[in-house]
Subunit: 544 residues, 2 copies
């Protein structure tokens, strides 16, 4: 976006944020509409919470990432922070409303993290999340399986067929296998976070961290290796089901049993082939209690990071938590210096990937942290809409088309032409505009008292209107106007438009707009190809 250099600092939006305008916001809205449509089919109900929360509400929920929380200034009254995600506000709401026993919560909202931005990759300080969470009782893995079915439904409807993988694991299996391998209880979270780096680092480095930094016995680390470097599907599940040492651990046993149940439900959803059971997936947040998942795609991972042979999952190189690690490291490195470096956009840094495009899991105890004794188990997923946007935009730029993208152009442009003493017919243009609006059409006209024909044609082209209605004083006398398709070639029988009685105008224009829409659809969606306004690129000579 061009910035005015004269004014300096004040003429900008805050770092790590962006204004969404033009074709970008149209695409973003189309993505929202598509995700909303899917989630509403699955009976999701909106819940909209304030953009800030009491500081106490957020406190202690995000581990070391709490330092990324934006606080509001103390201006008297309550101490507030901007929300960090949409999950904690949902748990706070459930705790406040003990009468709500179940809620299929659907939320779209911006969240805030004082993190290093990489705007072109959709890594922002202010960014959208779109969440679906099922709160309330579910027998094992039934609600969980529907969340995964929603993930599949969303990415399929966004046109990502075969280009995403849902990595799944279960906290109980992970914790159980650490216990079985002999990890001391107080080291389990630390070892878990080391394992989470396996998508970025080779095993030798992860092992080094475990043994040298975290003081784990080498033999224990070697046992861990036999598990966490494995990923797959039913094959991996079967081998765990036959692993007596592992199943002797009650946590691992219930995790493995329920994973088998989940597999059977995912099969019924037709979703099993989208899933990769990955024993190295650990996820950062403390509050997960069961299944966890993370959706990755090409572009999720940084370009530089593929060093580990086990990185390739169904042809997708390198998943997302990579970048989280990179980020944390470089944050630590730059901490000593000023905050200026933290603010730099890192879009061109090849060590920064887009990250995961959706992630979530089961969190059965979070509500209880707000209301002791509360029993409101939850499972959900958060879609990273800015990242989905960035990837879709790059694919559009590469010439791909997407059927969910709609046109934002007006249906019809109202004009008036006249000779020497021409009045401009402003009131009449307004009257015809109103008539067409009342028929449900999207209509524009030029805000000039006496606009020239070429000015009006140019405006109609720029706006992408497929049709125009042309008023003239002579036709007006006869109760007629001219209806014309934009962009007809010379010699076309309707090149000069057709005369239509004003009494029949709305009906005739609606008919032609619907015809155009059908043709547009069968023509293979070139609307999408050039970024929404198919008519802007037409040579102006056709009209003037």
């Amino acid at each position: 976006m061009p910035k005015d250099k004269d004014k300096g600092a004040a003429l900008k939006n805050p770092k790590g944020t962006r204004d969404w305008s033009g074709s970008d916001v149209d695409l973003l809205e189309d993505i929202f509409a598509q995700i909303s449509r899917v989630i509403r089919k699955h009976a999701g109900k909106k819940l909209d919470s304030p953009v800030f929360e009491l500081q106490e509400v957020l406190k202690g929920k995000y581990g070391e990432d709490s330092k990324l929380i934006y606080d509001l200034a103390d201006q008297g009254g309550e101490l507030l922070s901007l929300r960090y995600d949409l999950t904690v506000p949902f748990a706070r709401w459930l705790a406040m409303n003990p009468n709500v026993k179940s809620y299929k919560r659907f939320a779209i909202g911006k969240v805030y993290r004082r993190d290093q931005p990489a705007i072109a990759k959709g890594r922002m300080r202010e960014f959208y999340q779109c969440d679906i969470d099922f709160a309330g009782a579910s027998d094992p893995m039934i609600a969980d399986s529907e969340v995964i079915a929603i993930i599949v439904d969303v990415f399929e409807s966004l046109g990502w067929q075969d280009r995403y993988t849902i990595k799944i694991n279960d906290r109980r299996i992970l914790d159980g296998l650490f216990e079985v391998c002999g990890v001391p209880t107080d080291k389990i979270r630390a070892i878990s976070s080391a394992v989470d780096k396996l998508d970025k680092l080779p095993w030798s480095e992860v092992k080094k961290e475990m043994v040298e930094t975290k003081g784990l016995e080498e033999s224990v680390a070697d046992k861990i290796q036999t598990y966490v470097t494995r990923k797959g599907g039913k094959d991996l599940l079967s081998s765990l089901q036959a692993d007596e040492a592992l199943l002797a651990n009650p946590k691992a046993k219930s995790g493995v049993e329920e994973m088998a149940l989940l597999f059977s439900y995912l099969e019924a959803w037709g979703a099993l082939d989208k899933v990769s059971f990955d024993l190295s997936l650990a996820r950062g947040l403390d509050y997960y209690t069961g299944i966890i998942y993370e959706v990755v795609t090409e572009g999720s991972a940084p370009v530089m990071a593929s060093r580990h042979p086990a990185d390739s999952v169904n042809g997708i190189i390198n998943p997302s938590s990579t970048t989280q690690t990179t980020q944390k490291q470089s944050k630590k490195e730059s901490k000593k210096s000023s905050t200026a470096d933290d603010d730099e956009d890192r879009s061109s840094d090849p060590s920064v990937g887009v990250g995961s495009v959706a992630a979530g899991g089961r969190y059965d105890n979070l509500v209880e942290r707000f209301r002791p004794g509360a029993d409101v188990p939850c499972v959900g997923v958060s879609f990273g809409v800015d990242r989905i946007f960035s990837i879709t935009k790059a694919r559009l730029a590469a010439g791909e088309t997407f059927s969910f993208i709609t046109s934002s152009s007006p249906d019809v442009y109202v004009m008036a032409f006249g000779g020497g003493g021409f009045s401009g017919m402003t009131a009449q243009r307004i009257g015809i505009t109103k008539l067409l609006l009342d028929a449900g059409l999207k209509v524009e006209f030029t805000y000039k008292k006496k606009p020239k024909p070429q000015v009006q044609f140019k405006a109609a082209e720029t706006a992408g209107a497929p049709l125009c209605v042309i008023l003239g004083e002579d036709e007006q006398m006869k109760g007629e106007v001219r209806v014309k398709e934009m962009g007809l070639p010379d010699g076309h029988p309707e090149k000069e438009g057709v005369l239509v009685k004003i009494d029949n105008l709305a009906e005739e224009v609606v008919r032609r707009v619907e015809m155009k829409r059908v043709v547009g659809t069968t023509e293979g969606l070139n609307i999408a190809e050039d970024g929404r306004n198919p008519d802007t690129s037409r040579p102006a000579t056709l009209e003037s």
Copy 2:
């Protein structure tokens, strides 16, 4: 909303904010959808700006209301504040993008004011605004007239026929008449703000403020009275057009001439009868340069405030700026004490009205304040969606119906029944759910492995599903399921449902859902009457 008392302060949302859930958020979304539909017909294009801005951007834009701005804590880096409205961020964006010569900006977003809340009346600290602004050149009053047409279109489509008035005035007329009456230039804004109180105070008190507090000569005040106590339509316009003393002032002259033009355009839009030309309307914000307007309805004004005989406009008692004044006064009064009183909800205070439900005007110089020399004239309106919500909700509670309100219930509920050794058929229920989802239907089922029939019926009723599909092991063997309408009376031929082949199921359910929708529409929208879920109130005995 019930609050847990054990946990105390932390288990709440911040004061002056609310969580939108259940039927409230459904209604809010329906209102958004309706306003969006209208604005998109008028070719509005979305623009979404960050929730915070650099403090410099907001500085000096809101006069004395600047003290209501929320600042973010200084955590290093930029100094930020939450946005106070959607207008200044738009002007900042236009200034940053000199290549954008025109934009029909449509925005829905929350804005923030550290003000005294009255939540039930839709007066919040965090509240939604929905704006449409036309940036770019327009010959006099053409774009302005379309903004007013949009206001009419929005309120008509929300079912407010004959229950709102658009008060209009023009800053140039107002400033011109002050000059003609002899108000010294340096007193014009102060006198203007005194006049703005005429909808709340009798003339005698406004005059007293002018003369005693603001030092205006009494004879000047008396001259002002002859203008600012007048409101009406073409009659008032005609009398101003014949007022030679007034027209001798160039500002007033151009204001009156353009008002005549506006009237002719509003007539073409069919909007003239919704408008009241009101010479006392001044509006608080400094940045308006031409036409200004404010939409009021019953409920806009506080109950207590009707003391002035000129208060009644088209049967609507007392417009909105009343409450702004009340608010400012009580704020000043409570300033000495702690902020605790400021935080109290004032919903039950009869001196607090809902306020105006939409307001705006022309602001031709705001962009220039960010980029000297910029010439981007703008005109727009902001809809107070929370207030529109509060009023609509009260009308629903009073038994009114609104055609724009949609059902949020699932189309169909999938169940399974069985005898003693019944498996619960979970995978089969999932399979049928998936089949129906793929047909575009909104589907739910119970997250229990072996749910009892009455549990499933109750859940379907609570969700408001009009249809259910019932699986049974015997029927399954024959490739059949049972389709049943919910709530059929005893003795109805389809009371027990009808058997349908699974191969034909999607088609049959879609057919029945569409039939139900048509019936629902012709039955006169009782969906709206009891707050969205028509089926919840049905006696459970019908099913169990």
